[in-house]
Structure formats: C-alpha cells, structure tokens
C-alpha cells in the first residue's frame, strides 16, 4: 500500500502546486511510482506546471462520476516513467467532489502507487478538506510571513480534527515546507525567520525552498522545478525534502547561512 501525502496551506499562492509537482517528480526520480492528484476543481493548474495540459482527456470528476475508468484518466509523464498525473476538471465545480468518490479514487491509487500526492486547493472548504481527508502525511506549505503562518496553523488544526486518521484517534504526520524564503529579506527583518515560524507552528521542518527565478521559469516551461534544472537551489531543496519524506535523515540548510544552525533546526520539534 502506498502512502498518501496532502500538500496544503490554507492560503493561496504560497506554492502548493509547485511543491506538489516538484516533490512528485523528485520521488519519481528515485524510481518510486508516484501519482500527483489535482484537487483544485475549477481552477486546475497542476497539469500546466507538469506540462501535461494538452494531454488531458478525462479528469478526477469523470472518474468519481463513473464516466471514465481510473487508468483512462491517469496521464503518464513523458520524462519520468514513474510519474503520473490525475488532473482536475476545469469546467465542473467543487460540489462534484463527493466524499465517497474521493475515498474510492484514493483507495484505488494507493493500491498501485508508492506515493499518492494530493494537491489541495486554497481555503478550508470542501475541496481542501476532501484533499486532506485520506492523507497519511501532510506537507504544509508556508511562506515566511504572518498571514500565511496563521492560515497554516488553521490547516494544522483541521488536519488534527477532520482527517480519517484523526477521527480514528491516530495522529497524522505533519511536515512544514517553508517556501519562497529570501535570505536577504529575512536578514533585514522583512520576513519571519525560520525559527519564528517553527516556534509558532511547532511541527517538524521538511525543507526550506529559497525564493528563486528558477521556480517561475520551470513553471512557465511546464516542468516541475526538480526536472527543469536539478542543480538549481530550489530543485536541490525539493530533492532533499523528498529524501526526508522517504525517511532519510538529511541536514537542512538555511539559505544564506553558511554553516552552523543546521543541526539545530533539523528535526526540531518546538513545544
């Protein structure tokens, strides 16, 4: 049985879709069979970021409503054999997502994939709660600024209350992915520091993705950043985050800091 990861944030525009695509590609680059599922029905973007927008025939809603079989809707990535995409519908709205349908689809995907990555829409409404519903692991994408941190805190609360795991009394694994981190602005005090964010959210850190033009460039050419240029700083950060997801212990580098502090920050669990 594969593991289900939800990439979520509460706030929009923090980098959920970019992170879902980059982590999916990074896991697939390790030859682990991975599918990335777009839950943002009505505002789908994942297919664009993954460069599959011209190959979409069926989507998640078609599968849920029984118009198509799951294998028909899955799109295999042209560059990576182990990477698949299940796109969202652009024409339907979120009401077509049903709890039972999502459960069936996620359950079926778990059987044939090592990793099922659910790209959650922004907000705390139906789409977001259904995306997190069956997750084993949550990756909470946060920008180092107060509104994003507060929304992430809200999402963590929902993860602890509304997921199947939480309702069974188990604890869902939660990781913080700090994106768009700009060392210069953090230095000047225009941004929250890594430690501040960790102190507020008190969940372990999965990685820090530096703010970079490479991310925008990759997304414009329709390629996950880890595939577009695997040597770029954000790609390296995502690749390391993916290794940590698989259970490897990799030190976390704070961009802009030359040495020290790494050990202190990695795996830290603030009270």
């Amino acid at each position: 049985m594969g593991k289900v990861i939800v990439v979520t944030s509460g706030k929009g525009g923090v980098g959920k879709t970019t992170s879902a695509a980059a982590l999916g590609a990074a896991l697939a680059q390790r030859n682990e069979k991975t599918v990335v599922v777009d839950f943002d029905v009505g505002l789908r973007n994942l297919d664009l970021v993954m460069g599959a927008e011209r190959r979409v025939v069926y989507d998640l809603i078609n599968v849920i409503q029984g118009d198509a079989k799951l294998p028909q809707a899955l799109i295999r990535d042209k560059r990576l054999e182990a990477l698949y995409l299940l796109p969202a519908s652009q024409t339907r709205d979120k009401d077509n997502l049903t709890a039972r349908g999502v459960e069936a689809v996620v359950g079926a995907l778990k059987k044939s994939f090592d990793w099922v990555i659910c790209d959650s829409p922004a907000g705390i409404e139906r789409g977001a709660t259904l995306a997190m519903r069956h997750a084993d692991i949550a990756v909470i994408v946060t920008n180092p600024e107060v509104s994003s941190v507060r929304d992430s805190d809200r999402i963590i609360g929902l993860l602890d209350a509304k997921t199947v795991k939480a309702e069974r009394g188990e604890c869902i694994e939660k990781h913080l992915l700090l994106t768009r981190y700009d060392p210069n602005r953090a230095e000047r005090g225009d941004m929250l520091k890594v430690d501040d964010v960790l102190e507020i959210l008190s969940i372990p850190l999965l990685g820090i993705i530096p703010e970079s033009m490479d991310v925008l460039r990759a997304s414009n050419i329709g390629s996950p950043v880890t595939l577009a240029d695997s040597r770029s700083a954000p790609a390296q950060a995502y690749l390391q985050a993916a290794r940590r997801l698989t259970g490897e212990s990799v030190q976390i580098a704070v961009p802009g800091e030359k040495r020290g502090l790494f050990g202190k920050i990695f795996g830290r669990r603030a009270a």
Partner: protein, 302 residues
C-alpha cells in the same frame, strides 16, 4: 460543555454568555455609555388621563447578572417522619447549631406523601431551625406558593460529614472550636472538587477550548486566532497569541497566566483588554493578569 479542540461553528463566544466591557484603568479609554431614557405611558388612576412619564436612568452602568453555584446540604427525609425526625434530633444534639447557618435543600423524590404531610414536615424542620431554601424532586402538585421553590439540575458533591465525625475531617487550617467550622468545611471540599482540564497539544488558529466549569491549563502554545474560554483561571505554558477569556461565567477571582504574552485579547469576568491596550513592557514576557475592581492588572513573573 467542553469541546476539546473542536471546530467552532458559532461566532466567537463574545457576548453570547456575557457581554464584554472594556477594562477600566488609567491607560484605557473608557467606553462611552449612552443615557437611556425609558418612556412609559400609563393611565393616571386619579383623573383617568393618559399620562406620559419619562424615566431617566441616571446610573447608566449595565446591571450585571451573574450565575453562581453554592453548596447546599441536602436532606432526604424517610417515612415514617416521626422516627426520621428523631434521628435528626439525635444528630443535632451532638452538635448544637449544626443546621443553623446551612442552607438546606429538601429532597422528597420518591416519597409518597400528601401536601398536608409535607407542610407538617417543613413546620417540624422549621422548629429545629433547619432553613429550607428549596425543594428537590417534588411533584408540582405538592408545592404551594408559600413553600420554598422547586430546584432541579443539582450536581452531586462529596457527602458532608455529620457532626460526630467532624474533628477527624476538619482541614488543618481551620480554627478548632470555632462555631463557624461546619460552614468552612464544605467550602474546602468544594475547592478540592473544582474541575480543571489539561491540554497537551497546541491550540491552533480557529479552534476554541470552552470549559465553563473551571480552570484550563495548556501545556503548549495558543495560536493567533484561537480562543480559550474558562469559567476559572487560564494557564498557558507556552506563548499565548490568541484570545483568553477567564472567569467567563462571572468569576472576578479568575486569573490568566502565560509563559509568553502575545495575546490578541484578554478578558477576566467580562472585562477585556485588546492587544493594543496591553502595556508594551509585558509583551513577550511571562505574565499573570488579574482583576482589581474594574481594571485588569498585569505583573511580570520572574
């Protein structure tokens, strides 16, 4: 009542149970109270004319309605009353004035008696200086207007020891031989039984912890946008960034303690202070807050 980390659907509790009023101290702006005038019309009995009178409320402070629970002794009489009263006399003989200051509730549930018998029993108890403040478990047909009111919804409390066993259970700090000791005793038992809850995980934005019964202790942080409402005091062994409302059911003795104060709103007994009004020197520090008259006072701990 307690909703552990449940998503709250209702609007924040402000004003639903008690209205919040701004805390008054030198630094704060006071709320402006509008003078209400009540205009009433009535017919003057003397000349039959319609009179209009305007009553101006000079004191514009709102009347505070508070709920408070007290511990009462519950007597459960048994049939036949003669022998039960004899037992009661025996008990009273052992400690003169045992019933003197105690409020007593009469529990007549399940007793098959007539109204006449009940009136007689209340009379007999009155002769023994037993003051009955309420009747529990009585059919409404049994009660007349001049009897003590019917009571319901009582919560069980530890049994009160009779006078014979009194010296053994007395709290060590209570003066021996003082006739008031029987009154002090139930109070000390009430302190022991005061409920409290402990929460070991962070309270996240959007979550409310509502515990009107007593104290709330949080061994983690309270996030911005989270809310703690306690009937008693609030203790936060982490950073308090959200809202904390202590003494929400009307308890001016409630306090708020936190290891790091970054709160959005603090309230004790309905008086509140917003983040703007909190003196800057307390921000980020370990602080306790309490109520002095109409003002919330703060003091740095350590």
């Amino acid at each position: 009542m307690y909703t552990n980390l449940r998503e709250s659907r209702c609007p924040p509790l402000l004003g639903s149970k008690r209205t919040l009023r701004p805390s008054r101290d030198g630094v704060l702006k006071r709320r402006l109270y509008v003078n209400h005038s009540l205009t009433m019309a009535r017919i003057d009995l003397g000349n039959g004319k319609l009179m209009k009178m305007t009553k101006v409320l000079t004191d514009s402070r709102p009347i505070r309605l508070k709920g408070r629970s007290f511990l009462a002794l519950v007597l459960t009489p048994e049939l036949p009353f003669d022998s039960w009263l004899a037992q009661l006399d025996d008990l009273a003989d052992r400690s003169a004035g045992f019933f003197l200051r105690r409020p007593v509730v009469l529990d007549v549930e399940g007793l098959d008696i007539s109204r006449h018998q009940l009136v007689e029993l209340i009379g007999e108890l009155g002769k023994r200086s037993v003051r009955i403040i309420g009747m529990e478990g009585a059919r409404s047909s049994l009660l007349t207007f001049d009897m003590p009111p019917a009571m319901s919804g009582g919560r069980p409390a530890p049994d009160i020891e009779g006078p014979a066993a009194e010296p053994a259970v007395e709290a060590p700090d209570v003066n021996h031989g003082n006739p008031a000791t029987p009154v002090a005793q139930p109070e000390s038992q009430m302190v022991k039984a005061r409920p409290s809850i402990i929460i070991n995980q962070p309270v996240r934005s959007g979550q409310s912890v509502i515990f009107p019964e007593g104290d709330v202790t949080i061994v983690a942080s309270v996030a911005s946008g989270a809310e703690i409402v306690a009937g008693g005091s609030i203790h936060v062994y982490g950073t308090l960034r959200g809202r904390a409302m202590a003494g929400s059911m009307g308890n001016a003795g409630a306090r708020i303690f936190c290891r790091k104060l970054e709160a959005e709103l603090l309230a004790i007994d309905g008086l509140y202070k917003t983040a703007e009004d909190i003196e800057p020197q307390f921000r980020g520090r370990a602080v306790q807050l309490w109520l002095e008259g109409e003002a919330i006072r703060a003091e740095a701990l350590i």
